[in-house]
């Protein structure tokens, strides 16, 4: 990437014997939203704290617009960090909460600058009518908007968001995820968004960084990471229901599962072993050779998810909402080779 807004090179951080970050390399473009996706304990929060300057890396460097900032203090980095838990002053009005970061020591905004910034941020987030309300009187969604407002009034060089939607109702999360992505595009400021929610990662990201146990497993566009996951671990982090992963061996020119189900023609030598990943939406319900027995049918509204026993392997498939399949029924799963991911090795 030419001239990234921020670049991490081999960033490593340990706490005692816990290696929280293990040589992390990542870049964020000047008008890019990068989502860091990983389960609890992957090192996501440590990564943000290190970028913003609350932690000092043991090794590696952080470069911002060409300047090494590894040892710079947090205020000098001019980044805004938004946490999962809204950190508003409950007794203060929304206006005063928004003003606060602009009145910090070292800020030079005039009274009218501050007025103008607050008006702009409140407009952008649709919270103008809340400006005179105290923070305790707000709903969860309103509070999260104000928290984000407090970050944008400063017009920082980089936004860092740590699971900002996690504590909200599902409906609100859905709406704010769209609002946030649109807002970021309007602001044109780079953003790093940390989450464990794969739907947020896929839908919001320009690029996804998949983090596990402090190491980057893969970086790519949502489509890259979803369709061409580098490993089963990455594949399992994206997609709901999870990708099917079957152990297979080449026999008579075809991939066979351990139970002897023939999947599709193999482009590998006889006896080779691999793990094969198949997304549930890529499993056809008929036309296959080996029958499977339906165990569970989950109604998801727009579609149904079928869990079936395929000669001893569990397999998830997606069926249209009109399906009449029920537990005990027989299906004949078929896999299209172009949609499958093959990871060679036992």
């Amino acid at each position: 990437m030419s001239n990234p807004a921020i670049a991490l090179r081999g960033v490593t951080k340990s706490f005692g014997s816990v290696r929280a970050l293990q040589g992390v390399d990542m870049e964020v473009g000047s008008d890019e939203l990068v989502v860091v996706l990983g389960p609890t304990g992957a090192g996501k929060t440590t990564l943000l704290r290190t970028i913003v300057g609350l932690e000092t890396p043991d090794a590696g460097s952080i470069v911002m617009a060409g300047t090494d900032i590894t040892c710079l203090s947090p205020p000098a980095r001019d980044m805004a960090l938004v946490f999962q838990n809204f950190s508003l002053y409950p007794e203060w009005t929304v206006r005063r909460n928004l003003e606060f970061p602009l009145r910090a020591p070292g800020r030079t905004e005039t009274r009218s600058d501050i007025e103008e910034r607050i008006k702009w941020a409140a407009d952008m987030l649709g919270i103008t009518h809340l400006l005179n309300r105290r923070a305790v009187q707000l709903s969860g969604g309103e509070m999260q908007r104000v928290t984000i407002g407090r970050a944008i009034v400063r017009r920082p060089k980089l936004f860092l968001l740590d699971e900002p939607l996690t504590n909200l109702d599902a409906k609100l999360r859905e709406r704010l995820r769209v609002e946030l992505a649109v807002l970021r595009r309007k602001l044109g400021t780079p953003m790093i968004f940390v989450t464990h929610d794969q739907a947020e990662a896929l839908s919001m990201a320009d690029r996804i960084v998949v983090l596990s146990e402090g190491a980057v497993l893969q970086t790519g566009t949502p489509e890259d990471v979803y369709r061409r996951p580098a490993s089963p671990t990455v594949a399992l982090q994206l997609g709901q229901p999870a990708i099917n992963i079957l152990d297979a061996t080449v026999k008579d020119g075809k991939w066979l599962t351990s139970a002897g189900v023939s999947l599709f023609p193999a482009d590998a030598a006889e006896g080779e072993q691999a793990r094969i990943g198949i997304r549930p939406e890529d499993v056809a319900l008929s036309d296959g050779d080996s029958p499977a027995t339906v165990k569970v049918v989950e109604n998801m509204g727009a579609e149904k998810i079928i869990l079936a026993d395929w000669q001893g392997d569990d397999i998830h498939a997606v069926a249209p909402k009109s399906t009449s399949l029920k537990p005990g029924d027989t299906i004949h799963p078929a896999i299209c080779p172009e949609t499958a991911v093959i990871w060679p090795g036992p």
Binding site: D169, L202, G239, E298, N299, M300
Partner: protein, 326 residues
């Protein structure tokens, strides 16, 4: 007669807040019923009245034909799971799970066998000799579920039991709860604000809003045939789209189809990649429409697009009160 009957159950708090405005629900033996709604809709208060943790202002709770409205929780034979695991920190995981069985006077051998079985199902086999403070949040939540489900009470009452878990753990636990419940055939009342959880778990869903029951039905009825605009919007991810007019026209994202000859024209505001599909956000003269498209469908923000609505899937609503027009 149904197994559990709530008759015109009301709860008015001393400050005058009417948390539940008269709920009548009948739950059959072995049925899985989900109370679904946003925070403040009265779902948790309803559950607490069934549990005996709150005494209703009016109305009755019957279990197996017996009026239990004023009975203490311990005399109702209910198994609880809460969002916040109330585990005994000084007892090992094994003893926490065993607690309800010991309280019921089961033999040591029976307790051991039951605890081993449920903890294995939940992947807690290696945690049995540890203590709750040493466990992750997810494991504590699992122990709390195991403790409730080790026993076969008359009814399970669950209040957002998966609320604090990561999404991948949530899916696995959802399958566990459903399988366990189907095997034991214990009536279950489950409270959540997550419509996806409700759709996938429930035999029937009770949708609540501001203390009222909006609709009771199977997941398919609730999704395809919503009683009012609130249900149509709340259920579904994203919810139903609405177009203003003398009658509000509602249509689900999967029933809007891009078509050159479509009657509705708009500008693409945003395009969300979801892996197995896309959600395209379209700004039209009747408001924002979100539709579901194949991942191969490309429409960049700013592009003009025509779509058509699948007429047989259109729902109409009264613009005044949001009720369905049939």
């Amino acid at each position: 007669m149904s197994f559990i009957e709530l008759d015109n159950l009301r709860m008015v708090y001393p400050d005058g807040t009417e948390a539940v405005k008269g709920s009548t629900i009948a739950i059959e033996e072995g049925e899985f019923v989900v109370l679904l709604g946003p925070s403040g809709c009265g779902k948790t208060t309803t559950l607490r009245m069934i549990a005996g943790l709150e005494v209703p202002t009016a109305g009755t709770v019957k279990m197996a034909g017996r009026d239990v409205t004023r009975l203490s929780p311990s005399r109702r034979d209910v198994g609880f799971v809460f969002q916040f695991y109330a585990l005994y920190p000084h007892l090992s995981v094994r003893e926490n799970i065993a607690f309800p069985l010991r309280a019921a006077g089961e033999s040591d051998a029976a307790v051991r066998e039951a605890v081993d079985r449920v903890s294995q199902r939940l992947g807690l086999g290696e945690q049995l000799s540890r203590f709750p403070p040493q466990l992750s949040g997810g494991d504590q939540q699992r122990v709390s579920l195991a403790r409730a489900m080790v026993r076969r009470p008359a009814v399970y009452l669950m209040d957002e039991p998966l609320g604090t878990l990561d999404s991948d753990q949530r899916l696995a636990m959802r399958e566990f709860i459903r399988e366990q419940q189907q095997e034991l055939k214990v009536a279950t009342i489950y409270v959540t604000h997550d419509q996806e959880e409700a759709m996938s778990l429930a035999d029937r869903i009770v949708v609540m809003d501001r203390g009222d029951i909006c609709q009771v039905g199977t997941p398919t009825q609730i999704y395809d045939d919503p009683a009012n605009r609130f249900v149509a919007e709340f259920v579904g991810s994203p919810g139903m789209n609405f177009m203003a007019g003398p009658e509000v026209v509602g249509i689900r994202p999967e029933h809007i189809i891009p078509a050159d000859a479509g009657q509705v024209e708009g500008t693409v505001a945003m395009n969300e990649y979801m892996g197995s599909h896309r959600f395209v956000h379209l700004d039209t003269s009747a408001g924002r429409l979100v539709f579901r498209a194949a991942t191969g469908f490309h429409a960049e923000p700013g592009a003009k697009l025509k779509v058509e609505l699948e007429e047989e899937h259109v729902c109409r609503f009264n613009p005044e009160n949001g009720d369905r027009i049939r």
